[in-house]
C-alpha cells in the first residue's frame, strides 16, 4: 500500500429517493478499515442526509440516519457541509444532527465533526484531495 491518501466522499443526493446515500455510507464504513485520511462532504440535496428527526415509517425503508452519529467511532472527524446548499433549502445547522468525535490525543475531548464551509472553501478542500468518491 502506498502512503496514506486523502479520500473524500461527496454526497449530493437526498437520503431515500435513491439508494446512493445508503450505499455511500456502506463504502465509508468499509473504507474506515483502510486507515486513510477520510473526509465527507454534503452538498446540494445531500445536506438532507444529515437532517435530524428523520422518519421512514411511511415509506417502508430502513432509516439509516443514526449511523451518521457513529461516524466518529470510524475515525471520520471531518464532515463538510456546504453553506449555500443549506441556505438554498431553507435549512440551518440547527436542522442537522449534532455530530461529534472524541479526540484520543486530548483525553477523548468531544469535538465537532461538522464544518460549515462556503462553496469557494469547499472547492479549495476538494482540490487538495487525492481521491473523490461521488455519490
Amino acid at each position: 500500500m502506498p502512503d496514506v491518501k486523502k479520500l473524500m466522499y461527496v454526497n449530493r443526493r437526498a437520503p431515500y429517493g435513491t439508494i446512493y446515500a445508503w450505499e455511500s455510507l456502506e463504502v465509508v464504513l468499509v473504507g474506515a478499515a483502510f486507515d486513510q485520511d477520510v473526509s465527507l462532504a454534503f452538498l446540494d440535496d445531500g445536506v438532507y442526509q444529515l437532517t435530524r428527526g428523520q422518519s421512514t415509517e411511511g415509506i417502508g425503508m430502513k432509516n439509516f440516519s443514526a449511523i451518521y452519529s457513529a461516524l466518529g467511532d470510524y475515525e471520520v472527524t471531518r464532515i463538510y457541509v456546504e453553506k449555500e446548499s443549506l441556505e438554498e433549502r431553507g435549512l440551518t445547522l440547527d436542522d442537522l444532527q449534532h455530530l461529534t468525535w472524541e479526540d484520543e490525543d486530548e483525553d477523548w475531548a468531544e469535538k465537532e465533526s461538522i464544518r460549515l464551509v462556503d462553496r469557494a472553501e469547499l472547492a479549495d478542500v476538494m482540490s487538495n484531495q487525492d481521491v473523490m468518491f461521488n455519490f
Binding site: 500500500m1 502506498p2 450505499e23 456502506e26 463504502v27 481521491v131 468518491f133
Partner: protein
C-alpha cells in the same frame, strides 16, 4: 498511468456503462493500466449473462467479458449491491440458498474493500454515473 474505474449505473438505462467501457478501451490503447473496474449501485447489472438485447444493439455485458478476456481486466461486482439486485455466482448461490447463478464470464463478486484498495493503489479513480 494506473486507473481504477467505478461504474455506478446499469446497462442500457444509462450511458455510464458505455462511457466507462469506451474509457477503458481508449486507456488500454494508449498504454495505460487498468487496475480494476468496480461495479457498484445498479452498475452490478453490467455483470449478468442473462442479458439479451435486440440483435441490432450493442451487447454491453458481452463487451465487458470480451474486454476482460483479451486484456485480463479485473471486473469486480460489489457483493452487497449484488445481493440486493440478484447478481449471483456459485459461491453466493450456495451461501444464500439460491437455485441459480447469473454472473457473466470475466466478472467476480467481492467486497467494497476492493473499491477502496483500487482507489488507493491507482493514480486515478474515475467514476462513471450521474
Amino acid at each position: 498511468m494506473k486507473f481504477t474505474i467505478q461504474v455506478n449505473e446499469g446497462p442500457y438505462q444509462h450511458q455510464a456503462a458505455d462511457s466507462a467501457y469506451n474509457f477503458v478501451k481508449a486507456a488500454l490503447e494508449k498504454g495505460h493500466d487498468i487496475f480494476r473496474v468496480f461495479f457498484y449501485h445498479d452498475g452490478v447489472n453490467n455483470g449478468t449473462r442473462l442479458t439479451t438485447p435486440p440483435q441490432d444493439d450493442r451487447h454491453v455485458v458481452d463487451r465487458w467479458s470480451e474486454l476482460a478476456r483479451e486484456n485480463e481486466i479485473d471486473l469486480v461486482i460489489c457483493v452487497a449491491a449484488a445481493q440486493r439486485r440478484g447478481i449471483v455466482d456459485a459461491g453466493e448461490a450456495e451461501r444464500n440458498g439460491k437455485d441459480a447463478t447469473n454472473i457473466a464470464d470475466g466478472f467476480r463478486i467481492s467486497g467494497l474493500g476492493q473499491l477502496i484498495e483500487g482507489a488507493v493503489q491507482s493514480d486515478r479513480l474515475v467514476v462513471f454515473g450521474d
